[in-house]
């Protein structure tokens, strides 16, 4: 910033000072006192206060109706409608005191502005009134607490049996999402954070044979419709948050631990395109926890499709480790890897353990 900038700023401040001074002097000349609160001030501010409260409520109502179309469409997951209904009930419950209190506030400000001859009513308390307005919120809130907890329980601990649930793993890293499917053996293979390298974007441990048929996909996830899925979340570096707003699903991805969320998608991407008459609609998974400079770019396409399409898509994907031509470059071939005896495996584990201890 050049000297000129500073001069301009200083002159601006001085000018502001003089403006206030001139204003004060002119007010003095007109005989009005800018430090006194006059009856006119009281009347105008009282009226304005009422007008503002009414205008604010009108704006709130207007915005609710105008922006309704901008809000998320009805939930695309089995548990979503429960949340949406709780949200609606909560909004009704908070809407009532919100509107009522603002009306009362505006009304009192207008009705009781100070003027000659008005005297305030001396009253210090009223036990019955205070009991009523303590009891009513208490009852309402406890009802809301129990309702909310019932929804929370059914969302967070759904009753679907674990064996009917498919498992997908989602990993967050700066600034990308990676999905992993268990492959034919139905089991996600072992991982080690030290192995995130090159194309091993999930840190899979090739020593673990159940990892070999895992399917790893960058930036995209497909889910079959109407099938319960448990998504397990991991992070490679910092905390991320996997946010699927259309499914009412969110869970943080925390380095060093595994978190999960179980839900059932009930609308395919095609269904949603029709419902919203938007040909280009897609589900996305967003990052919703500040994770670095490019936080805002972290997204994953989520495709929900009929089970047969899903199976077809999954069949076309490459498995993580297909033998020595794979560039993950373990020493053993797939066949050899399957031959690895338990003893050798444990030695390897020990060496990893030893390394950990060394640290």
């Amino acid at each position: 910033m050049g000297v000129l900038h500073y001069i301009v700023i200083i002159l601006g401040l001085l000018a502001g000072w003089k403006v206030i001074r001139v204003y004060e002097l002119s007010e003095e000349l007109r005989g009005s006192d800018t430090e006194e609160v006059t009856t006119t001030d009281n009347r105008w501010n009282g009226i304005l206060m009422l007008v503002m409260m009414l205008a604010f409520l009108a704006m709130a109502v207007y915005e609710v109706f105008t922006y309704q179309q901008f809000l998320l469409p009805p939930a695309s997951s089995a548990h979503g409608p429960e949340i949406d209904q709780l949200l609606f009930v909560s909004f009704v419950i908070i809407g009532i005191p919100f509107v009522a209190c603002h009306l009362v506030l505006g009304w009192f400000a207008f009705a009781y502005f100070m003027k000659d001859g008005r005297e305030a009513y001396y009253i210090s308390h009223n036990n019955r009134l205070e009991f009523i307005w303590t009891a009513i919120p208490t009852v309402v809130l406890f009802a809301l607490i129990f309702y909310g907890l019932a929804v929370w329980d059914s969302v967070i601990a759904p009753t679907q049996k674990e064996e009917d649930t498919m498992v997908v793993e989602v990993l967050g890293k700066q600034f990308q999402w990676v999905a992993r499917y268990p492959g034919d053996d139905g089991e996600l293979g072992g991982v080690n954070y030290r192995l995130f390298e090159g194309t091993n974007s999930m840190g899979l441990d090739v020593e673990d044979t159940s990892a070999h048929d895992d399917i790893v996909i960058l930036g995209e996830m497909h889910l079959p419709v109407n099938k319960t899925v448990r998504i397990q979340f991991r992070s490679q570096d910092v905390i991320h948050s996997a946010y699927l707003p259309h499914f009412r699903v969110q869970m943080n991805c925390v380095p060093g631990m595994s978190t999960s969320f179980k839900f059932t998608p009930v609308k395919t991407t095609e269904d949603m395109r029709e419902e919203l008459s938007n040909e280009t609609f897609d589900y996305y998974l967003l990052c919703n926890k500040i994770c670095g400079a490019a936080h805002y770019t972290m997204k994953m396409l989520v495709v929900v499709e009929p089970e047969e399409d899903y199976n077809k898509w999954l069949g076309e994907q490459k498995v993580f480790y297909a033998g020595e031509e794979s560039n993950i470059a373990p020493v053993e071939t797939l066949a050899e890897a399957e031959d690895i005896s338990g003893e050798e495996e444990s030695t390897d584990e020990e060496s990893v353990e030893a390394e950990k201890t060394k640290i």
Partner: protein, 587 residues
């Protein structure tokens, strides 16, 4: 007490290393105003990016240089601005600035003491606070920029310089500065508590204390109990960053390298942080509520309604604030059943809050309201407290939090309920006690313009954000252009930026009025608002020691406004009860 105020004090002990609570209060206030302007301008700058994504603003290049090449903010620096905006406003302005200013000014004057229990500790608390602020400002100029991991500075983002440039020296300064701030908060808090308990004048029973003192007293207790936990978190984070420990870090592979941290958990940090972080919300809010309790009663010319319930609410809110922190962590991977407990405790906070609102409304009923600028801001705060408070019921419900956690709904909620509303409380306090601080009056007309423009802008900025949040728009996004679904909000974002800019500029009207009035304002009279509390029984230009003669004795509660049978519509607390007269607070 010695003979105060008659000998001429040297400049350095009177204005700089002062131990007089009134001067320390002014030091806190002016520091907070300077910091608030910095933080506010930051918000204008990052709102430019959010409203006009990618457009070039030469002013950004001028102010930020390489952080905004060609006038477009750098995405990493955007996060730095957001982080520092939050840190400065939460800690410098609304904690140090608010409590520091008004606890210092009001506690000795309103309980009838010559000064704080320890003037020296009080002075130290200001200087530690100043060091914190200097650290924050210095961190803007270091390599890598200031802390950029959000004001909550969650590790690993804040722990690893590889994760984001601001996690280098800027973050170290943040943490060390925070330690200084905590020292300041603890010294100040202990002093406030001791003063309220021990230095009340004769007759000033606990139930004759003005609500402002109750609020500041409970605030100080909250601070003393919760800030040490943040200090622990900050120190452990410093250890992780600089000495290779693994309290909060585990299994991290970043920048092409596997790090050697094992066994820690960022969740632990979140627990420690929010154990302070939630009481912090009330450390900010309670003083503001205390201030407006005084302002509303005085200007309504009517006793505060339900004084004892107000005190009980403050105590209950203070207690609850320690057992709700988990509501910030419903979806972090914390055990979901633990979340249930926090839902219950969180929603219960709405009960004392509702009582307070109803009592304010009842105080205005059949009142005789004088609309001083302070009163306008107080009523504005009640409105903001309602608007922002009710959405807390939604966010505190874990099932709903799943989908609105960390969206703009949260931004709207906390900016209204603890940002703007506490700022409004602070404005109310400044306009109201300015005559006591500086012996002069502020200009009312400018105050009116200040209030009306500000209140419209605050709602213009934050109300629409609720809808963005309900549409799933995440906070702390540098740009929404990566998600087609958020383009519907492009126009709304422009309006929000316009309101934010306008409200920032109108604050300069206040600042001009403030500094102008310090030097040129009309001389104040002893009790310009016709108020009952003891500070207005002191002379206009009060020296160190507050009362030239003996300390007044208290005979009644603070709210005998418009008491029937009295000559005037107020009765100072030091006026003895007439024969057969009951003290208003006790029947």
């Amino acid at each position: 007490m010695g003979d105060h105020g008659h000998h001429k004090e040297p400049f350095i002990t009177k204005y700089v290393f002062s131990q007089d609570h009134k001067m320390i209060s002014k030091q806190f206030l002016i520091t907070a105003i300077i910091m608030a302007v910095i933080a506010m301008m930051m918000s204008v700058f990052f709102r430019l990016q959010l409203g006009f994504d990618g457009d070039k603003f030469p002013i950004l290049a001028t102010v930020f240089g390489d952080w905004a090449p060609d006038g477009v903010l750098d995405p990493g620096f955007y996060l730095a601005l957001v982080t520092m905006h939050g840190t400065i406003l939460v800690f410098s302005v609304l904690t140090g600035g608010l409590s520091g200013t008004f606890a210092n000014l009001l506690i000795p004057l309103q309980v009838g003491a010559r000064d704080m229990a320890s003037g020296f500790l009080n002075m130290l608390s200001y200087w530690f606070f100043l060091i914190f602020n200097i650290f924050m400002i210095v961190s803007l100029f270091v390599e890598g920029g200031p802390a950029s991991g959000g004001w909550t500075v969650y590790p690993p983002l804040s722990a690893l310089p590889q994760a984001i440039p601001g996690s280098g020296l800027g973050m170290t300064l943040w943490l060390v500065g925070m330690a200084m701030f905590i020292v300041s908060a603890l010294l100040a808090g202990l002093n406030y508590i001791v003063t309220v308990i021990n230095l009340r004048t004769k007759g000033m029973t606990m139930f004759r204390l003005p609500l402002s003192i109750w609020a500041l007293f409970v605030t100080a207790i909250l601070g003393v109990l919760s800030f040490p936990v943040l200090l622990a978190a900050a120190l452990l984070l410093i250890f992780d960053r600089s000495f290779g420990t693994s309290f909060f870090l585990s299994d991290i592979h970043i920048g092409g390298e596997a790090l050697n941290y094992m066994g820690g958990s960022p969740i632990l940090y979140e627990h420690l942080f929010w154990f302070l972080g939630h009481p912090e919300v009330y450390i900010i809010l309670l003083p503001a509520l205390g201030i407006i309790s005084e302002v509303i009663a005085t200007n309504a010319r009517k006793p505060i309604f339900g004084y004892r319930m107000m005190v009980a609410s403050i105590l209950f809110i203070g207690f609850l604030s320690f057992i709700v922190w988990g509501h910030h962590m419903f979806i972090t991977g914390m055990n979901p059943f633990l979340g249930s407990v926090f839902v219950a405790t969180t929603l219960v906070v709405a009960i004392p809050s509702a009582i307070k609102v109803f009592n304010y409304l009842a105080t205005l009923w059949k009142a005789n309201i004088r609309f001083s600028p302070a009163m306008l801001f107080a009523i504005g705060m009640v409105s903001l407290f309602i608007t922002g408070g009710v959405t807390g019921i939604i966010l505190g419900d874990s099932a709903l939090d799943i989908n609105i956690h960390d969206t703009y709904f949260v931004v709207a909620h906390f900016h209204i309920v603890m940002g703007a509303s506490a700022i409004f409380g602070m404005f109310a306090g400044i306009y109201h006690w300015f005559p006591k601080m500086y012996g002069r009056m502020m200009n009312n007309k400018l105050g009116y313009i200040h209030f009306w423009v500000t209140v419209v802008c605050v709602y213009g900025v934050f109300f629409p954000m609720h809808f963005q949040g309900l549409a799933g728009m995440p906070r702390r996004y540098y740009s929404n252009s990566f998600f087609e679904q958020f383009s519907i909000f492009d126009e709304m974002n422009v309006w929000i930026t316009v309101f934010a800019t306008l409200s920032s500029f109108v604050q300069f009207l206040f600042i001009g009025n403030f500094f102008y009035s310090i030097f040129r304002g009309k001389k104040a009279v002893e009790n310009p608002w016709g108020s009952n509390t003891l500070e207005w029984t002191t002379p206009v230009n009060l020296g160190h020691g507050n009362w030239p003669g003996p300390i007044p004795e208290v005979h009644r509660w603070a709210y005998d406004y418009s008491k029937p049978g009295k000559k005037e519509d107020f009765v100072s607390q030091n006026v003895p009860l007439e024969e057969g007269e009951l003290d208003g607070g006790e029947h």
